[in-house]
Symmetry: C2
Subunit: 286 residues, 2 copies
């Protein structure tokens, strides 16, 4: 297992940690300002949200790399199925393709997929996953051509109804195996999987080459909101080192991306302070 | 699989469906009035919460049986571990024993255990489960003497931090096997397990004799509160018949207990209407 206590070059920022994933939240720093603040502090990478990128994908990607930051991912595709997916399905595919193109222009190694909730009328996780599998398989060649990995992110089961019928690493591995395409991988997020004692075994089944990302935060014991009240590493109950051991034992050696959605706490603080705290917690607790 | 379309004698009411689990919620019917209303409608059983029973366990149990209702369970033990467990641990054991004694006096077949969240300071689901295993093993002989099954209820992973470090059926089956005592069983609740595609396989591993209850409700796609916004059967996204098939295929042939925590909707309605709707939904959708 890698030792980060003296070296945080494996640390990446997901800009959601500064509230940049939601309009009107956070300090609203520009991508350039955020890139510079991360580079100054020795971060190794940065992951943006599409709303920050607009039409400047090539420019921002080049700016990040010029500052010494890798761009391991982009957040994210539209929901593919379920109540929050764009309708009709052609509109979903248009937006899915636009997100792949943006990731390519940005030079992002991967594009996160939150697959969307149970397909309306099915009352079935498994039927919904079948439809997701078809959609992702259809998008795989385009992603491959663009040099972008599609990172299926299993979300916490609390989102099963509306945001993700993919709620376990087990189901994500099954889906990757069913699609069997080199452009398809899985992203592992502490918030979504911290409770799952089968994680290490499932990740061994997956293999490190098909792990496209590892996201850090913490689960607050008395969380007040399951969308926007994530904890900073160390403030919750997750076994952070144990979870990292599981991804590394499976062969993952990539960046560790801090992604703390926190409308009531961290998003209200000075982003410079937040970035400093992330470094300190990463070195000491992750 | 049993056919309930013309016969709802397998339907039981958990009085939480009328808000009776929370002080000040619901219409506040007495146990007697609730028993009579269920009996009139042909329910087969009733499950109370300790706060309704007070010192009248023997009396209420006899009243229910005289009205033709079985008493499959009682809700519930204190949290055994974690931030919400009584402190010090001797106080938790005192309350645990009191709950076993009440279940015995009531003539309840089982007593539900919500095990409590991650043990403070451990940052570890597995360490916390070890402590729960020790506590439940210690209580098993007392439950056995009292003729009460202790029903470990895996809760939804959203409760992992504070209410239940036991969040999967898999972990519950492992715990039952580790304790290996005839008084220890598992309760399966649609709300907590609807998302888990490994359910049927895990329940086969458990076996029907170690399933102490099957609880019905639904998961609302756009749930507004993960504690008190459960759906009535049919209003959500769970595969109700598929879930029942999983418990019945494992050998379960007991009552199906409606348990809808719904502060903003069903608890505000006339309990008579709620009881009628439960019957209709049970016959047509479950």
């Amino acid at each position: 297992m890698r030792d980060f206590s003296q070296d945080h070059s494996a640390l990446a920022l997901n800009t959601a940690t500064l509230g940049h994933n939601v309009e009107g939240q956070g300090a609203g720093w520009s991508p350039e300002r955020t890139i510079d603040a991360c580079a100054e502090r020795g971060y190794g990478g940065i992951v943006f949200w599409r709303r920050e990128i607009g039409s400047r994908a090539v420019e921002i990607g080049e700016r990040a790399r010029a500052a010494g930051l890798a761009v391991p991912g982009l957040c994210r595709t539209p929901f593919l199925v379920g109540p929050l997916a764009p309708k009709p399905e052609t509109a979903m595919f248009d937006d899915l393709h636009a997100s792949i193109d943006m990731a390519a222009d940005l030079g992002a190694a991967s594009l996160t997929i939150c697959v969307g909730g149970v397909v309306e009328g099915t009352h079935s996780i498994s039927e919904s996953l079948k439809r997701v599998t078809e959609i992702v398989a259809k998008a795989a060649p385009r992603a491959d051509m663009a040099g972008v990995k599609l990172a299926l992110e299993p979300l916490h089961p609390v989102y099963g109804g509306n945001r993700s019928c993919l709620v376990t690493v087990r189901d994500a591995v099954d889906m990757v195996e069913a699609i069997d395409h080199p452009a398809i991988a899985v992203a592992i997020d502490v918030y979504h999987v911290w409770w799952d004692l089968s994680l290490a075994a499932e990740l061994r089944r997956l293999g490190g080459e098909r792990i496209a990302g590892f996201h850090l935060c913490d689960w607050l014991a008395d969380t007040s909101d399951v969308l926007l009240d994530r904890g900073m590493m160390g403030d919750g109950v997750a076994d952070l080192k144990g979870l990292r051991r599981a991804v590394e034992d499976a062969g993952y050696a990539g960046l560790c991306e801090v992604e703390v959605f926190s409308a009531g706490n961290w998003w209200k603080r000075d982003p410079a302070e937040v970035l400093d705290v992330c470094v300190e917690r990463f070195r000491t607790l992750c």
